[in-house]
Symmetry: none
Subunit: 288 residues, 4 copies
């Protein structure tokens, strides 16, 4: 934050909204966090018929209070930020907008109660606030571990998908419609349900052959869950405790030996023996 | 335990109740453990209709015997302990109280059979006795591993919750009431059931889009279970591995070098060089 | 195996039955393995109504062939072994007996078809034969890893049980009978089903509060599955390679003691005591 | 690929089909990948009644287009490859054939719609193309980790199977037919469903004893899932991490710098600079 005229109200406002160091900033974040959670709770309660009927007015009123607060906040963010456009089209800018607009739309457009559910996305705003908590370090570590094993996990999920499609097709052929395997997509869905050990049971094989294949799928699923876990464990162990093993204090050495003193394990780029100072001739040694 | 008048019956009683070194103390613990388990079994059996009808009197009698024993024990604990109040309002003090009172209340108040179930909390008292077993070491290690990864697991559970709420809202919009997704809270509940791979199947998606989203949720759940596991594995490997390596056959060494022969990696507490026997001067070496 | 008269038929028989090095011994094991698997398949097929009706005679005949073979084998084992009694009352001795007797009993006693299922225990005999396969090494490693973390896993399972009992009691109070939580034992059963993420769905909470608690139990179960995994992973990683855990700051020390100051734990290559600088004489110390 | 007459159309065709370095080769792979995925989607859509009825002609037409393309490709592969026979009977050769033939057969043979599902196997062809992607490295690593722990996982699955058969037999005896445990194979199937924590709930124990055993099976399954995970984790950690970091090819280096050439990172025991051969004086450098 470049120092600027302290008197500027925009500067102060910016500090309150974007920073969390000042008491005001902290307060703002706490209030915002409270309102976000409250608003999400409201969305949930509204969806419960009997609550909506009984307390509709209160819910509606709270919703308006929150929406107005969010509107003000949204405008304030646009005003105070340096490059408004870059904020508006940023991830959080869009989330903020989507968090604010639904209620207004619900007045204009009829039957846009679907839009209201969009407000659940307000939850994503929590992350911005959490940015300032002590847990951010941990979550970054987790995120890193996941990012590092992204490629591996993609490969894994891809394998899961292929297994599911092929096994799903087989189940469709074996079980057929009367057991609920009405189509290959449904069978594939069932395979994923089974492979991930969720097992709803809304669809279940009844023929001996189908049950045999199902058993194989389950055991496979039971076994391969070890793979992502193994990956993350390994990545995590690595990220946690390896850099103190392989740090700047280790170099790769080769097996050439000094023809003067016979010392081995020289640095790959060693020109002289570390033991007797005799010149090395890596060129001659085929292994180097 | 400060030594005090050995004759004092309160001292002896205290030793029996709180210590486990004396034969009497051991016996007391065993009896207590037996009665706790028995009483919990009784609570369970009472809840089974036909057993309650058939053996009501026996159960009731046993319950009274146990309650009276616990009452005496509770009083004894208060008498023998140094600061009764601090015991009464301690975790175990409250548990002991709650373990004792229900039956008495059930006489005074009618239809307080709910209170009787409170007796299941007696189970928590087991931990106090287990404090003395050989497993306490292990459980402490486990507890430590969990405590160390507390922050990470909280972050993880928080992420699970957010995913569930957003995915739940989507499922509510996609599936609607006729598939059992009667409200967002219920959908969120279903999401947790699915994400944790429990999958009751009392609610299950029927629309293709819903099943697609469900499949994504499952695969996500199947994948991210790796995260807590990875965390605990890593934490645990760390906490275990180091201390395991630091067994009797390994000692920590520092990087100070002997100014006589330049030998390095001396024990932290080394006074003389292990190579030339020259005296070391750790004091001078800042790093030691 | 002490060398004895090679001509002795008992010796040869013993070698065939108990050893697997000779071609005959190998053949015997293969035949036995085949018959065990076959007999278990028979037991399974018999339990399938329509198969039993259709092929009863064939199954029955095969069963007799196998039983007679096992009888002969059992007697042969008793004859050839040094201490018959110790074999008869050994684990495998009892298994062998139980594998052989049921069919004979089924003639004497009526309606002892339950006994026939005991033949499934024959499967356990497979392990004796597997003793000779290349997989035994792996299985020993696994067994060791499990044995090493036995105490930890017991603690873990005990915790799971306590959680289930307390949560089960709460669910019983919250949900009550109409939702299928007819008694505390059943609720505890449901809790275990849920905590282990099995989730049959034959019993499922219907009240909002019940579903909330259920969600907590699931997330708990989803989280704590990390614990046993972490334990085994760690144990296993350890048993596999503890050198890896060694950082650069640790050196191996031996147990020789300085005959001047009695200090122990010197570096393996130490020539002088790190404590008093007195010269060490590793050569004399047998252990070094 | 031995260099041969560049003009040969067969050589060019071979390069397009089998190599992926040339732009044409890349294009070919992309088109092929697209067609494979499309064809599998077609197979799935066809299986959905209402889609098949509504868009039958379009699906059928697309199917023919793809089949003809695959036919041409198949022939091209045979022509261009050096040893046609060895290709035809190779894994991918057979897959390619099975991917092409079904539609033709469906004309000749009536009601061979089962054959059509065989086209789902086309998915396997994807792997050939993926050979060229950046993920192949990861998947190889995964494959290696799995291959390394193959023996262990087999032992594990074998144990699971034995547990399931014995527990299944017990459940069959305890629960009997009215609870859905109609035969031992079905009970074993149920045991696998339970042990793998899938838990469909289509079959569930109703007797107290059955539920108790079920609870034990679940807890066992919940516990032993740790085993494969532990194995893979360990194998993976090993294969990934440490031994290639702290293997024999690495030595610890320090930060002292040669006062002649300023080179750093000398072996701890280096007496002479590895770069210029100048003598080092570790003693003087405070940090060493």
């Amino acid at each position: 934050m470049k120092p600027q005229n302290k008197k500027s109200w925009r500067y102060i406002l910016h500090e309150i909204i974007y920073e969390a160091d000042t008491p005001m900033g902290k307060l703002f974040d706490v209030v915002l966090l409270f309102l976000i959670v409250l608003s999400v709770v409201l969305v949930m309660l509204e969806s419960v018929k009997w609550i909506d009927i009984k307390y509709h007015d209160i819910l509606y009123f709270c919703e308006w209070v929150i929406t107005i607060f969010f509107t003000i906040e949204y405008i304030a963010r646009i005003i105070t930020v340096k490059k408004p456009t870059s904020y508006i089209f940023s991830f959080y800018g869009i989330i903020d907008f989507l968090s604010t607009i639904p209620l207004y739309l619900s007045i204009i457009l009829a039957g846009s109660n679907y839009l209201l559910a969009v407000r659940a996305l307000r939850l994503l705003r929590v992350f911005r606030i959490l940015k300032i908590t002590r847990y951010v370090g941990e979550s970054n570590k987790l995120a890193k571990a996941l990012r590092d094993s992204r490629a591996k996990i993609l490969v894994f999920l891809f394998a899961v998908l292929i297994i599911s499609i092929i096994a799903g097709t087989l189940m469709y052929l074996i079980e057929g419609e009367e057991s609920g395997f009405v189509s290959i997509p449904v069978s594939v869905y069932w395979c994923i349900v089974t492979l991930t050990t969720v097992g709803f049971g809304d669809i279940a094989p009844v023929t001996p052959l189908g049950q045999l294949l199902a058993a194989l799928i389950m055991i496979m699923g039971y076994g391969i869950i070890a793979v992502p876990t193994g990956i993350v464990s390994a990545e995590y162990t690595k990220s946690m405790g390896k850099q103190d093993v392989l740090g700047k204090d280790y170099v790769h050495v080769n097996t050439q030996d000094c023809r003067n003193c016979g010392a081995r394990k020289h640095r790959d780029d060693a020109k002289f023996c570390h033991k007797c100072g005799n010149e090395l001739h890596p060129g001659i040694n085929p292994e180097t």
